[in-house]
Each structure stands twice: as structure tokens, then as C-alpha cells.
């Protein structure tokens, strides 16, 4: 124990502790700080402009702080869940619980859609059933820490949890269904011909300081990429917050307009955006009175299915299999949106 503690203090750990303290202090003082800044501005805090500015000044650092913390922690967690380890956890299992496992691993395994093909082949080659592989492929882009943090920061923990639960459901049941359809023969010929491989997985020894470095790198990489979208999203939110009358969108994206859910899903399929990029739109839709189910279905559809990813997957799947894949995922998302609007 002491030896471990010694090693911790020898590395750059004290710096991380200081950062943590600074983070907490900053986070706690955000609300009073924002009030203070607004009170110095030459605008009436009760006016539209005042409200919009207050919203922007408070929410921007809040979401950026939250995101940095979550991405840092996930960057560390990711070092344990390399694609190779995830594959060895899933290999040789049969449909069912393995789909639940695959969808959950989709959250913690680092994934970018350009890795979809090597990952897909690596899984299939190692004897991970096709349905299980699909569960992973559906969950990985859709349910991720960035989407969840942004939803939490901007719309609260209930919506974030709902997105998490429903996203996992779509991935689990979509994969199960695809697995039952015996689609192996619709893989591209060269993929079918790849010989099965015996796995040997040895986890590499990684020092904890290396994991911390991975976390910092993730923050630099991810937050460096998505801050623009967040600013945009909160800007849109701030504007709506102060100016647009409520229920502006209710008539054509509200609960009564049932057709808005399939429309939202259809529009979302070819669109390509990261979770961060779509947040401004969701923000706008929700604030203007669009139904929650419709907005979430739109977001899922944009993030989970996209034209570029399908073009990449076309290298291993036949057009027919891609069609089946899209239809099943889209139907799942559609169902989620419809049920949501019905229940809430």
C-alpha cells in the first residue's frame, strides 16, 4: 500500500491532484461568478439579452469543465479496454447476454468510425458472432461519453440516462435480431474467406502514469475538437432561451405530430455528425417545443447511422446486408422515439 502510494507521488500525480482541486473550486464557483459578470454588464439582467448572456456565461464553462473531466476519466478507462481485449471478451460467446456485453463494451472501447472495418473483421475472424459484432457496432458510435456528458450538462441527468438506456436497447435488440437472420452469407466474399484465428490475448503491462497521460491526451484531442460545437450549441440555446417564444416548434415537431418521428429518423440517417455537432440542433429543437422523443430519435439517427460509415462498411458488407442493418437500426430508433412521445 505504502509502496503504491510512494509510486503515485513520485510521478506527475501531485499535478493531477492540484488540477482536481482547481477543477472542483472552479465548478462550484461558476454560478456566482456568472452572476457577478452579468451584474457588471450594462444590460438589465431581467431583459431578453440579459437572460441570454447569463445562460451563455454560465453554461459554456460548465459544459466544457464537465466534458474535460469525463473525457479525462474515459481516456484512462479506455486504456483498459483496447479493441483486442474487448474482442477476447466477446469471442466464442453465443447470442444473448453477449449482446448486452458487446453493447456495454461499445461505450468504453475507443472507437472511430474509420476503424469500423478492421474492427469488424477482427471480431468476425476471432469467432465473435455476427449479431454480437453488430451490437457493438451500433452502440460504439451512438452511446459515448461525449454524447452523455453534453446531454447531462445541457438537459439534465434524466435525459442523459434515458439516452444511455435507450441507445443500449437499440444496440442489444438490433444485434440480436440481426444475429438471428443468419446473414453470414451476405458478407463480402473476401471476408468470408479470411481464415478463423486462434486468439492469444495478453494484456500489456501499462504503468498508471501512462494511463494518466492517455487521459490528458484524450482531453487535448477531444475537447480541442468539439469546443466549437459546444460554443455553437450553447449560443443557439442562449438565443432561444432569451428570444424565441416557447412552443414555436410544438405544432410540427410536438407529440401530436406522430409523423415527425419517422421524418426525423429518415433525415438523420445520411447525416454525419459527432454527438457534439448535433447538440446545437437538439438544443434548438427541444427549446422550441419539439417533443423529447422526436429530438432524441433525430440525434440517435444522426450519430448512429451515417453515409460515410456505410461507405466504409460497404468494403465488408454487401449492399443488401447494409440495407438490412440500416432498416433494423432505424426501426429501433423509430420505436424509441414513438414510445417516448407516447409515454411522456
Amino acid at each position: 500500500m505504502l509502496g503504491w502510494f510512494y509510486k503515485m507521488t513520485k510521478g506527475p500525480i501531485p499535478i493531477y491532484l492540484l488540477l482536481l482541486i482547481a477543477w472542483v473550486a472552479l465548478y462550484i464557483s461558476l454560478a456566482p461568478l456568472a452572476d457577478l459578470i452579468v451584474s457588471f454588464l450594462p444590460v438589465d439582467p431581467a431583459s431578453h439579452l440579459g437572460e441570454a448572456i447569463a445562460f451563455f456565461i454560465y453554461d459554456t464553462p460548465k459544459v466544457l469543465l464537465l466534458l474535460s473531466a469525463v473525457v479525462f476519466v474515459m481516456g484512462i478507462i479506455n486504456t483498459w479496454f483496447t479493441p483486442e481485449r474487448t474482442r477476447s471478451l466477446l469471442a466464442g460467446r453465443s447470442l444473448g447476454l453477449a449482446n448486452v456485453l458487446a453493447a456495454s463494451l461499445g461505450i468504453v472501447t475507443p472507437f472511430c468510425s474509420c476503424s469500423a472495418v478492421p474492427l469488424f473483421i477482427g471480431f468476425v475472424q476471432a469467432g465473435v458472432p455476427l449479431g454480437v459484432t453488430f451490437s457493438f457496432l451500433i452502440a460504439a458510435p451512438m452511446v459515448n461519453e461525449i454524447a452523455l456528458t453534453l446531454l447531462f450538462g445541457l438537459f439534465g441527468w434524466k435525459i442523459a440516462l434515458l439516452y444511455l438506456g435507450l441507445g443500449l436497447m437499440v444496440a442489444i435488440f438490433g444485434g440480436l435480431l440481426l444475429g438471428r437472420m443468419n446473414l453470414e452469407k451476405h458478407l463480402e466474399k473476401w471476408v468470408q474467406d479470411i481464415p478463423a484465428k486462434q486468439l492469444s490475448f495478453e494484456s500489456e503491462k501499462v504503468a498508471f502514469s501512462q494511463r494518466l497521460t492517455a487521459g490528458s491526451l484524450a482531453v487535448k484531442d477531444v475537447v480541442g475538437k468539439v469546443w466549437v460545437y459546444i460554443l455553437l450549441g450553447i449560443g443557439v440555446g442562449a438565443f432561444i432561451h432569451g428570444y424565441v417564444p416557447e412552443n414555436f416548434m410544438a405544432s410540427f415537431m410536438g407529440k401530436e405530430a406522430w409523423w415527425s418521428v419517422p421524418l426525423a429518423v429518415l433525415i438523420g440517417i445520411p447525416m454525419y455528425s459527432s454527438a457534439a455537432g448535433i447538440i446545437p440542433v437538439v438544443q434548438a429543437l427541444l427549446a422550441k417545443g419539439a417533443a423529447l422523443g422526436t429530438a432524441l430519435a433525430f440525434m440517435m439517427s444522426v450519430v448512429a447511422l451515417s453515409l460515410p460509415e456505410m461507405i466504409i462498411l460497404r468494403k465488408v458488407l454487401t449492399v443488401r446486408l447494409i440495407g438490412v442493418f440500416i432498416s433494423i437500426v432505424a426501426s429501433g430508433i423509430l420505436l424509441v422515439g414513438l414510445i417516448f412521445n407516447l409515454v411522456l
Binding site: 483496447t82 479493441p83 483486442e84 474482442r87 475507443p110 472507437f111 472511430c112 468510425s113 474509420c114 476503424s115 472495418v117 478492421p118 474492427l119 473483421i121 477482427g122 473476401w190 479470411i194 491526451l217 484531442d221 466504409i312 468494403k315 465488408v316
Partner: protein, 79 residues
């Protein structure tokens, strides 16, 4: 001559990785034969599951995600 391959389907990260190696090799005056491998059958021969990957003299030295500047420099310095 260092034989360096960047494996990846051609996404942004792969391109940035390629450019980073090109740039640092030039800056240090290390002679490299840099090659992009975008064909998935060829990529899979290296038994990798995430891209971009960097292969130096047929050994995979990096898999998945952007390599840091320091990493690239260490590959170039080792020779």
C-alpha cells in the same frame, strides 16, 4: 532508409499521422520511405483492429488514434 507504412482507411486521423511523420522526418533529416496503405485486405494482414497504425520495417509500432509528436520523434530517433 526507414520504411514506414501508415495503415488506415483514409480518415482525417490517418492523413494527419502521415503528414506528421513526413514533416518530422524532414525536419530531422531522416531518410524515410513513407507509404499509405488504404486497402483493408492489406491492413488486416498486420492483425490490427484500430486505425491509424504505423508500421516501421514491418513491425507495428502504433495502433489506433493519433500518435503524439514525441512518439513519432522516438521512432525516428531510434534508427
Amino acid at each position: 532508409m526507414l520504411r514506414v507504412k501508415v495503415l488506415g482507411g483514409g480518415c482525417t486521423n490517418c492523413k494527419v499521422t502521415y503528414r506528421l511523420i513526413e514533416e518530422l522526418a524532414q525536419a530531422r533529416g531522416v531518410a524515410v520511405q513513407l507509404e499509405k496503405v488504404e486497402d483493408f485486405q492489406e491492413i488486416m494482414a498486420y492483425d490490427v483492429m484500430s486505425t491509424p497504425c504505423v508500421v516501421i520495417d514491418e513491425t507495428v509500432v502504433h495502433r489506433g488514434g493519433l500518435p503524439s509528436r514525441e512518439q513519432v520523434e522516438s521512432w525516428l530517433a531510434d534508427r
